[in-house]
Symmetry: C2
Subunit: 228 residues, 2 copies
Amino acid sequence: MKADELASILAEHSLFADCDEDELADLILRGHFMQYEKGVELIMQGDPGNSLLILLSGNARTSMIASNGHEVVLDYAEAGQVLGEIALLDGGERTASVTAIEPTSALSITREAFEEILAKHKNMALRLLKVMAKRIRTANSMIEGDRAYTSGPRLARYLLRLSVVGAEEGRLKLDLSQSELGNFAGMSREHINRQLSAWSEGQIVAVESGKVRILDHAMLSHIAEADS
Amino acid sequence: MKADELASILAEHSLFADCDEDELADLILRGHFMQYEKGVELIMQGDPGNSLLILLSGNARTSMIASNGHEVVLDYAEAGQVLGEIALLDGGERTASVTAIEPTSALSITREAFEEILAKHKNMALRLLKVMAKRIRTANSMIEGDRAYTSGPRLARYLLRLSVVGAEEGRLKLDLSQSELGNFAGMSREHINRQLSAWSEGQIVAVESGKVRILDHAMLSHIAEADS
DNA sequence: TACGGGATGTGACTAGTGTCACAAACATGT
DNA sequence: ACATGTTTGTGACACTAGTCACATCCCGTA
C-alpha cells in the first residue's frame, strides 16, 4: 500500500486527525503494514509486548482468558484505534489478546520506533495520554456497571456502547452473535436471549435474522440507569 | 512546608524517583500544598476536572456512586500516587470521588501548570504514560476478576492486592472494615464476614480485633486462581 | 461504669442468573 | 437440495450471593 493512502486513512481517525504531515510520515515510514484474516490473533495474551498496532481497517476484539478458562471481552476496536500500548509502555506481558473479527490491516510499530517518534514529536505523547485517559474512563465505567447494575441495565449499556451515534435505524456497529454479546456484557448466552426477547416484545429492540437493532434508544438509555 | 522537604517526599516514590531536580522544583513551585482531614473529599464526582493531585502523605479511597446509589470502590491510593489526571487530560467531568481515609496531604497542580510542566520536561509525559498503563492493567484485571470468578477467589484477589509485599506477619496496607472490604471486592458485608470466617477456620487468614491478617499467602494465591 | 454507635456474627429466606438439555432455525459449502 | 455445523429459542432446575432481622461485641466518651 502506498504511503499517501496510509496517511489519508490515518488522518481520518481521531487520534491522528491533528497530526502534522511530518508525524504521519514518520509513523508510516517506521511502521510495518500488516494484514490479518478473520479469526487471527493480532496480539497474543502472554507474549512479551514489543510493539504497538494502529488499526487501519477491519475490526478486532480485545479479550482475556482467565485462569479458569472464562473468556472476558474487554472491547471492540475499529480503524484508527491504537492497540497494545500498555505492554509497550510498562514493559510487561500482554494481558489480553486481540483477534481480528473480519479481514483487518494494521500498522505495527516497534518499541524503538515508538520511542523515537515520541521523542521527536512531543505532541504524540499528549495525544496518547488522552487516548489512555479515555480508556481508563471506559474501564472504570465497565467496573461500575458490572458491579452496580443487574443484567438488564448492563446489557442496555453494552448495546448502547455498540450503537453508532447517528445510526440509521439503530443498527449496531458490529453484528455480534448472542454468545459474543454474552461475553461482552458478562452474561450467559441464554440470558441474553431471554432479555432480548423481552425487549423485543416491548418494541425496545428488534431482533431480525440474528441482528439486533435498537428501536427505542431513549428507553434503552433509561433502562441503563435503572434502579435495579 | 519547605520546598526541599516536599522534594524529598516526592523523590521517595516511584513516579518521581528518577525526576531530575529541575522537574521536582518545577512541580513544587507550581503546585499548591493541600491538607485534608479524614473523611474529606479531595476530588468530587461530577465536578469539572481542572487540576491534578499528587498524594504526599495519608491514604485515600477512589470510588464512584452509580445512578442507583450503589457505591463502587475502585482503588486505594497512597503517598506518591497521582490522582485526577484523567479528567485533566480528556477535559471531561470527574467520574469518581477521592476521599481521605486518614489525614492526608497533597500537591495540587492546575491544568496550566501541568501543561507547562509537560511541555518543558519531556520525560514527564513518558512517566505519566507508564503510570496510566499500569492503571489500565489494574482496571482490566478487576474486570476480568469480577467477571470470571465467584466471590471466594475474588475476595482473595482483593486481599492480595491490599497486602504489602514484604509484609511482616501478613498485615494489610489498610485496615478496612468488612463493609469497606465489601465495597472494594464487590460483595455484601455479610458475605465477606462468612468468607473470612471460613478462611479463618482453615488458618488461611486471621481476623483479630477487626483487622485481617494473611496467614497463608500461598493458599490465598491459589484460591485466587481457583476454578470457581 | 454505664451508655450509645458502629462493626461484627449468624440464621432464614429470596432473587437473579447460570447450567443443562434439547428442539428448531439458519447458513454454508458441495 | 442435502448434509453439517452453528446459532437461536425455551423449559426446568441448581446455586451463588444478596437481603432482612437480630444478637453481640467493641470502643470511645459522658
